[in-house]
Every structure is written in C-alpha cells, then in structure tokens.
C-alpha cells in the first residue's frame, strides 16, 4: 500500500535533517535501514500501533527542549560496584567511565569501531531490528539503526558478575540522542546490564541482544526523571535454547516515553520476562508496547506492567503474546495494571493473544483501579497518616512488578528510588 503523501513528506523531512555514515562494516546495514524507514514511513497518530500515543514529538526533525537537571544525572547504580560506561548527551565520556575491559567480556564503542571494515557485530547490527519489523512496523528503530553513531558493542563469553552500567547524562537542553547497543552472549554466558539517566532532551535508544544456548541476560533500566524529556526505546532479544532474558524498567516522570520490546523465543526451554513499573504525575505519557513471539517448545514468558498515574497522567500498555504453530507447552503470562490516584488520569490497555498451537497455557489480565479507601482507613486507625498510607499501598501495588528484579541489591535501589519519588510527589 502506498504511503500517504503527508507521511512521505514528514519522513523525508526527518531523513533530510540527518546524514548516514558512509564507510565501515555497518554501512550496508545502515543504508538498508534507511530504505526501510523510507518504505515504512515514520509513525503518525493514525497508525494502529500508535493509536494511544502521539508520535509527533518523537519523529519531528526538531527537538522540543527539555531542561537538564543536575538531580537527574545523579548516579543510582553507583553503590553496586558496576563497570560504568558514561554517555553525556549521547557522546561517550571516557573520563567519567571505567576502563572498557574485563574478563570474559569485550566492550567496544560503536563510534570507535564504526570505520573498521569488519566487526563481529555485523551479523547482529540491524538484523534483530529487521526481524522485529514483522508483523508490525517499528520505524523509529530502523531510523536508529541507520543513523546512530554511538552505542556499546558488548560480547560476553563467560560468567560476568560485575554489572555493566550504561549511564546516560544530559547536560544540554536540546540534544537529540541516538544510541544503538548490540549485545551478544555466547553459549552458557551470563551478564547483567543496567541503564540509567535521561540521555537527552529526546532520545532514541535501541538494544539488540542475541542470547545463545544456555546463556542468561539480566537487564534493569531506570529511565530519566527529567519531567520534559522524551524517549523512544526498543529492545530486541533473540533467545536460543535454554536461555534466559529478564528485563525490568522503572520509569518516573518524562513527558513522553515509548518503550517497545520485541522478544523472540526461538530455542526450546527458554524464559523471557519483561516487566516495568512506572509512576507519573501530570504531564506524563508512558507507553509500554511489548511483543513476545514463541517459536519453540516449552517457552515461558511473563509480561508484568504496573503504572501509578496521577494528575492527568496517561499510561498505555500494548502487549502481545504470539504463539507460532508447533510452539507447544508454551507458558505465557501477561498482566497490566494501573493505579489511578485521581479521576483525571487514564490508562489505556490493549492486551492481545494470538495462538496457533493447541497445547499451551496463556493468560492475560488488565485492570485499573483507585486506591483502596478501606485499607487507607485501616492504616490510619493504626496511626499511619494518609500520605504514608497511600505510599505504602502504592509500593504494595508496584510490588509484583518490582519482584521481577531478582538481584536484591538492585531491587533495593529501585525501591528506594520509588520511595523517594513518592515522598516528593504525592
């Protein structure tokens, strides 16, 4: 179907504002991606996949400014003994980063290897993104593949205990940041990758991860608290046999956030968990769009998303479980819930199951509700004031999502950050 002329014009305007790196191992993938974007067109409100989230501010050539805040640049995972890799307004900062070295792991920067003729990431860069374009277009991810000049290329060859922490600082009020990470875990390898910070006034971050047989990747992300920032992120993961991928995202504030995940379980006996907790007040639009494809035996997937919304904040959840023919004994679970702290906030959910195998267990649920006044009164009569009681119940509501973070130290960091937010905002 031919694209509408307005879409073609808007897409061209955006592409014209940027230039492709012309040389190096990724140039072919980039040119292909550029062609994909032109063919798909950047998203517009009328696209079904963008029904609940206005994409304009994510696609426009110009960036709406977002005042950088010192507070938002504060380190969160600092206490965990991570290997920190710092990007400031989308540019790698060597001084603030740790040395990119470790046992059983190779860490490189896209900006530093982009000019090479050949690189291990060639087989993955843009490849998982391309696969993720079916059955639904994800043009912003293709745009990122084409134009991103910075990112981490991480190859894990064994068990790496030290978490790798990507820190996204924002100092400029107007930067449009694009980062493209490629992560590969060899057979039996395991690692933890963390992301935190606002990155820029607007950011577009793609992470492609290939998880080989028996490998395991933990991903925990705390997105920037800058109220004005806008973000589009894509997580692509391919799971081979007996592998595991667990991802958790905490979002507090941000004018607009669209977090997409596309997970493909293509090896038997693999496990994928995608979870998120988000809390927003006022000008806050948060969209979790998740697609999990089961294409192997005995796969297990969980999607757990909880949102706390207040003062006209909006939460969106579009989650799908696709079970391909032959993906027997699949166990899929999906829950999305919102806690609406007033009448002005809204939660829009579109849970989907599409199942082509006959011996599977799939369940999904979606609810939105107000705070339990009975419980508040009960807590009050025990001497707990309203604000504290509300915070306690809000944390309790988020607990199921938070419990998806397996590492206790990281979970504690997340919980403290939430408590901090609740004390300040509610």
């Amino acid at each position: 179907m031919a694209l509408a002329q307005t879409k073609v014009t808007a897409t061209q305007a955006r592409l014209d504002a940027m230039s492709l790196p012309k040389i190096g191992w990724s140039s072919g993938a980039r040119a292909d991606a550029q062609t994909r974007v032109a063919a798909m067109g950047l998203p517009v409100r009328r696209d079904e996949y963008w029904k609940y989230t206005r994409p304009d501010e994510l696609t426009s050539p110009n960036v709406k400014s977002a005042k950088a805040s010192v507070q938002d640049n504060a380190s969160i995972f600092g206490s965990l003994g991570c290997l920190s890799i710092v990007f400031e307004d989308g540019v790698f900062n060597a001084e603030k980063s740790d040395k990119l070295e470790g046992t059983d792991i190779s860490l490189e920067l896209l900006s530093e290897v982009n000019d090479l003729d050949i690189h291990w990431a060639l087989s993955l860069y843009g490849a998982l993104e391309t696969k993720g374009q079916t059955p639904v277009d994800r043009p912003l991810a293709a745009l990122n593949t084409a134009y991103a000049r910075e990112g981490l290329l991480m190859h894990v060859k064994g068990t790496v205990a030290k978490p790798i922490s990507l820190v996204y600082l924002q100092n400029s009020d107007n930067d449009d940041v694009m980062l493209h990470h490629v992560i590969k875990l060899d057979k039996g390898a395991s690692a933890t990758i963390l992301e935190s910070g606002p990155a820029g006034a607007r950011c577009n971050i793609v992470m492609e991860t290939e998880i080989e047989d028996g490998a395991s990747l933990n991903h925990v992300r705390a997105q920037g608290r800058n109220h004005e920032r806008r973000a589009a992120t894509h997580l692509f993961a391919r799971l081979n046999q007996e592998s595991q991928f667990k991802s958790f995202t905490l979002t507090m504030n941000g004018a607009l956030t669209r977090n997409e995940a596309f997970v493909e379980i293509c090896g038997d006996d693999s496990v994928a968990h995608i979870a998120g907790a988000s809390v927003g007040n006022g000008e806050f639009h948060h969209d979790d769009t998740v697609f999990i494809k089961h294409d192997a035996l005995r796969g297990e997937s969980r999607q757990v998303f909880k949102k706390v919304l207040r003062n006209g904040a909006t939460g969106v959840f579009q989650g799908k479980i696709l079970v391909k023919p032959g993906a027997q004994k699949t166990d899929g679970y999906q829950i999305s819930q919102s806690l609406l702290l007033d009448d002005d906030s809204q939660f829009l959910a579109k849970p989907e199951l599409e199942i082509y195998a006959d011996d599977v267990v799939c369940s999904h649920g979606s609810t939105s509700g107000a705070i339990d006044e009975e419980a508040i009164f009960y807590l009050n009569t025990r001497g707990i004031p309203k604000l504290e009681a509300t915070n306690l119940l809000t944390l309790a509501f988020l607990a199921e999502a938070l419990s998806e973070v397996e590492d206790e130290d990281i979970a504690e960091v997340m919980e403290r950050r939430l408590e901090d937010w609740l004390t300040r905002r509610l």
């Binding site: 009960y378 807590l379 009050n380 009569t381 025990r382 001497g383 707990i384 004031p385 306690l392 509501f397």
Partner: protein, 251 residues
C-alpha cells in the same frame, strides 16, 4: 478515660440518624461491654470514635483523656491512645505484616514526639508478643491479613494492640467468626493487656466472649442509645432471655 456525651450521628449520604444520643463513660482500668441487637448502632459507635468517613456528628461530644476525639484525624486518635480492633480486619496485599506493624508503631511514636523504635528492639518485642498469641514467623512475614483465617485475623488485631499499647481499646465483635479455642486465645491476649492505665470497650452479641474477658460494666444498646447499664449479670440475662424483655422494660 473515654467520655461520650449525647452523641448523635447520621449517615452522611442519607439523612438517617443512627446514634440518637449516646452517653457513656469508661474509666481507666475498666472493661465495659456493649451488647445489643443488630442495627442498634454498636459498630457505628466504634467507627465514629475511630474517625471513619461517611458519618456526620450532629450533636454531642466524645473525648479521650479530655481531648476532643471528634476533631482529630484517625491517625491522631490512634496516636492519642485509641485503638479499634476491627470486626472485619482489612486485607492489604503487598504490605508485609512486619512492615505494617513497624510503620504503625513508629508513626505513633513520631506523632507523640517520641523516639522511633530500633529495628532490633522492634523485632524482639514483636516476636515475644506474637508468641503469646501463637502467631508464627510466617504470619508475620505474609502480607497484612491476606489469606489469614478468621482466627488468624483476629489474633493479628490483638497483636497490633499489644504492639501499639493503646490506652483505650475498642473491640468490635472480636468474637465473630471464631471457634471456642480461637476465642480463648484472643481473650488471653486481651487479658494480658489489662492494667490500671488501660480501658476496654468490648462490643459483642454474645455472653460467651464475656466469660473469657470479664467485664466490669455491661451496657445494652438499642435504637442508637444506651438503654440499660448494669454489672456482668446483665449479660447473663441477655444470654438467657434475649433482648426482648429488657427492651420492653425500658422502651
């Protein structure tokens, strides 16, 4: 301790008067029981005293240790020494019983300008008190009242009471839904808390709870008023003859 004068209360939403002039004085160290038929206003009285929304006080007063209860938020009433053991304790998924107890104890201490209890002291005390009520470590860890049996919920109420050390305890049909053994256990917990500085108001339908928690004074409530006050023998009279005789006599 607790002084209620001519308390008149209506439901906020429908102009229906429930309490039609309650007068009641409870002295420190005493146990008072309130009995009465369904719909007489017993539970409403406990809710109004603890500060639940949805009721409008149209007349009268209620003071705890000479402080105006009706002017305070529920949590202020609690910090001032009032405790209500709920007829139906509320389940709170996601909030651990221990976290709840500790937040409550320290919330009250903070409100009274006292030092907060340390984690170690708290743990020691809660374990000792839980043991008396046969509350095991698992019940302390689980979310508040979630999946608790009727008896466990009521024991949990008494544990809260023991930890918060209130001055005025109101027990709203604490015996409902309990078997004899559970009731004995709850009564034991209550009796252990009886002392000179503390008073109890036990709301119940049945004499049997009062076999275990011996009251000093028994009130009969009907149609929004205390209609008769007497000694423990009044409860026996109700048990033997029902409310009809007493009511026809006074009304």
């Amino acid at each position: 301790m607790l002084k209620i004068r001519n308390l008149k209360v209506s439901l906020e939403e429908e102009e229906k008067q429930i309490l039609k002039g309650v007068d009641l004085t409870v002295e420190a160290g005493k146990v008072h029981a309130i009995m009465g038929p369904n719909g007489s206003g017993k539970s409403t009285l406990s809710y109004v005293l603890s500060g639940r929304d949805g009721y409008e006080v149209t007349d009268g007063s209620a003071t705890l240790l000479d402080k105006d209860l009706l002017d305070m938020e529920p949590e202020e009433r609690a910090a001032s020494g009032l405790f209500l053991a709920f007829q139906y304790p509320v389940e709170i998924p996601g909030v651990g019983n221990m976290t709840f107890l500790r937040t409550a104890v320290n919330g009250q201490r903070k409100a009274r300008g006292e030092e907060e209890m340390s984690a170690a002291d708290f743990l020691k005390e809660v374990r000792a008190k839980a043991k008396i009520l046969k509350i095991d470590a698992d019940m302390l860890k689980r979310p508040v009242n979630v999946g608790f049996s009727g008896g466990e919920k009521k024991r949990n109420e008494i544990l809260q009471m023991a930890m918060l050390e209130p001055k005025m305890c109101i027990l709203d049909e604490t015996d409902s839904g309990l078997d004899v053994d559970a009731m004995k256990l709850v009564a034991q917990g209550v009796n252990a808390l009886r002392d000179e500085g503390r008073a109890f108001l036990v709301i119940t339908h049945y004499q049997r709870l009062l076999d275990h928690i011996k009251p000093d004074v028994v009130h009969i409530m009907a149609d929004g008023r205390i209609v008769k006050t007497g000694g423990p023998e009044l409860a026996l009279e109700v048990e033997n003859n029902g409310y009809a005789d007493i009511l026809s006599e006074v009304m």
